[in-house]
Symmetry: C2
Subunit: 466 residues, 2 copies
């Protein structure tokens, strides 16, 4: 069976003729206009018939055959193959706009934790570093890059970690990741499963809890004492993995004292357990020096250290890192030998330059002052406006505080919004949100100016007490 | 018990005096020089005794108390607390250089798959896009950014995917990720576990196999027929999830024909299964147009589409994307509501600009030509030098080919290295590497110039046959 084809081919549009012809025949096959078994006209015939070149017809036929619509039979021509069922209609398309979820309106005085100060960020220097990275000759920067992260960046990190956090490690122990959650996801894939149980401070960082849960872990919630994690609860949990924020408990802000650190390490050693130390914002302590890391005391290789550039630099760099215990490095290489690095080599290289030139150290020094002032402004404003109505929790470090107030906070949060102020509930930080206190709100101050902090607190008082 | 402290404080070094004092006392406590229970000298006394300010002493004491070495007792002074055991010695530190694993020497003619052509990459335009992104006023670009990815980029992707791949999707279905492996890791966390079994083409992409295995999946290997995945084996596998490269099978290169695509979709529909379609390099077909995606035929929402910028743009952008079936979008939001986006908002925005201004389309068009010529050069060189000694597999698309040769390839690979040429084994692509044929090597040609391709093939012949 041979047929006549009478496509309308338009020589004035941009679509090449062979594609027009291919699309025409394909549509006819899909819609049943050309039944299976049909022989298409010969190339020579169709080219004459349609006044187009033989090449055009041949290209259209080749495409049809490549996609399996037709089959090329030596000496008998191009035969149409059967399709199981008619296909979806084709046609012009603009992507569907789904009905929007209602977006929350932005608030002028938004005490969002996670926002950082951008007014003092050295954009010019950072741009320069990015440019210098882009001007590099090394193809490594434009391909996949080193699986564990840029070597130069890892060397800078090793130096920084020793100087600032007391961590001693080799480059082989450092793994660059694209955020703390990526890091924890890798650890979930790496660590011995041990029944997939992890002990975690309760309350703690919900973003990481989420990763554990999504990897099939059961979380054993460990309560807090005034000086941090309750070690007897930890012992009872029988977990062989613990996730902890020892230098600035999230969200309460206490520091785990040296005695408890030593006990914690002893627990890990005796139980052959790993401790994941999340050291997310230790750069910003407003009294004295940063607290040395737990990892600095870890002689038995039980502590896995996590750091991030999201608080001390820029969240959008999406850069974090793991320091593995030496004894896990080989296993890491084996387990992830076929993985690519997930953070961009271009950004890693820019970060390397930024650290190497001393800009990072300078930036931290400056931001410590900036945040200290914001922090002081926030504390003073709360004390001034609220007096004893509010108890401030976790006031010596970091980029947020908790406010404890003898009222139901659900009501307070929506009242605040009416005054253009946003403060946040903390319930998500509890592994069982139902157990969270109803009297605490969170206020991050990193992204607000001192003026806005002052005004925001004033409005908060008006919203709640006026 | 009260003691005398006699630290040596050096006013000529950069370390502040209070830190020197704090470090001195801390070391004494740790090494037992100051026993627990000791009362430290009063601030006033020590400041006179050491000729330093009261502030200096106070800061040192505060730090010790913050870290838990001492405790401040109202009216009785600063008391040293007991430590469980002596700590590690402190001291100066340079990070340990671990004994290097022996790195393989670079080869001049390296047919590494994954390398791309950098000579024709529009670095200037890309740098401009990065700069323009950095000059944006939107704080979103410097904070965590949209969890599912830059909205502008997703809109450009939706348009591109429709035009180039026949995929119809809303922005809510697109999830930007930092590489195909990150994407698959998210899917492993998202999809119903169904006994954690995935059917995968055998051979197939080992990088993704690895992710499945690390997430506790069992892989059911599905053999290939000359026109792609063996559907009867798939049916027998009883898997409810399949990972497939239908438009350019990796590594063999065949195209799954339309009839098989329809059957595959029917399989998914009847078994309530998901198909992960990895469409990693469909931009580069050297005969006719790209093959439309499987997703374009998916009326029942069973196909999860994966795309990447690593082949068609730049691996170091670390940008990939998932197109979720509509019915998975809500579950995605729930499951990952507390996750941050792992690719940098700065790079996403630059990519958005690059696409919006039409540079991306132009780039693809240009690279298709560039790779077509390299590909032609490779094929011609092999035919010229090897004649019928080598069978070329998968020769119409992509950035690599396979060479089948009646010899043991282990020997051939090391012989090639002696002639400064690197070609690669394929055994890792087999789920059981022992089942891999011993007669096939892989040659990627993306990163080599035509001249180097020609010379590399010539040397390969000399290495193997001369």
């Amino acid at each position: 069976m041979m047929i006549e084809l009478t496509p309308f081919l338009n020589k004035t549009v941009r679509t090449p003729l062979y594609i027009q012809l291919y699309q025409y025949i394909k549509k006819e096959i899909e819609e049943g206009g050309i039944p299976p078994g049909t022989l298409l006209p010969s190339i020579r015939y169709l080219s004459r018939h349609l006044h187009i070149s033989k090449n055009t017809v041949e290209s259209a036929y080749q495409q049809l055959t490549a996609e399996g619509y037709t089959e090329s039979k030596p000496r008998s021509g191009i035969k149409v193959l059967p399709l199981e069922k008619p296909l979806v209609p084709s046609g012009h398309f603009t992507y569907p706009e789904r009905q929007k979820r209602e977006e929350e309106p932005a608030r002028r005085y938004d005490f969002q934790y996670g926002d950082i100060d951008l007014d003092h960020f050295p954009f010019k220097t950072w741009k320069k570093c990015l440019q210098d990275a882009m001007n590099s000759d090394s193809p490594d920067l434009f391909l996949y890059g080193d699986r564990q992260g840029d070597k130069g960046l890892r060397a800078e990190l090793a130096k920084y970690l020793f100087q600032a956090r007391g961590v001693r490690c080799s480059l082989e122990q450092i793994v660059v990741c694209s955020g703390t959650q990526s890091a924890v996801s890798l650890l979930c894939q790496l660590l011995p499963s041990n029944g997939r149980v992890v002990a975690a401070e309760n309350p703690g960082y919900d973003g990481v809890h989420s990763v554990f849960l999504n990897h099939g872990y059961t979380i054993r919630p460990i309560g807090l004492e005034p000086d941090g994690i309750d070690l007897s609860q930890l012992a009872e949990s029988r977990a062989k993995l613990a996730y902890i924020t020892p230098s600035h408990q999230f969200p309460y802000g206490m520091v785990l004292p040296i005695q408890k650190r030593l006990k914690l390490l002893k627990w890990a050693d005796q139980n052959d357990a790993y401790i994941i130390e999340d050291d997310y914002d230790s750069e910003f302590r407003y009294q004295g020096q940063p607290i040395p890391s737990l990892k600095a005391l870890d002689t038995k290789e039980n502590v896995i250290y996590l750091g991030t550039f999201s608080k001390c630099f820029l969240p959008s760099a999406r850069l974090s890192y793991i320091v593995l215990p030496e004894r896990l490095t080989e296993q890491f290489c084996e387990r992830f030998g076929r993985y690519s690095q997930s953070s961009s080599p271009m950004i890693q290289r820019a970060m390397y330059l930024f650290m190497k030139e001393g800009f990072f150290e300078r930036h931290i020094r400056k931001m410590k002052k900036v945040y200290q002032e914001k922090h002081q402004t926030l504390i003073s404003a709360i004390e001034k406006h609220f007096g004893h109505e509010v108890n401030i929790i976790g006031e010596k470090a970091g980029l947020h505080i908790l406010m404890e107030i003898r009222r139901d906070i659900k009501d307070l949060i929506s009242k605040a919004e009416k005054h253009d102020v946003k403060v946040y509930p903390v319930s998500d930080f509890w592994i069982d949100p139902n157990e969270s206190p109803s009297s605490i709100v969170m206020a991050g101050f990193g992204g607000l100016s001192e003026q806005d902090i002052e005004e925001g607190v004033k409005r908060l008082y008006q919203a709640w007490f006026a």
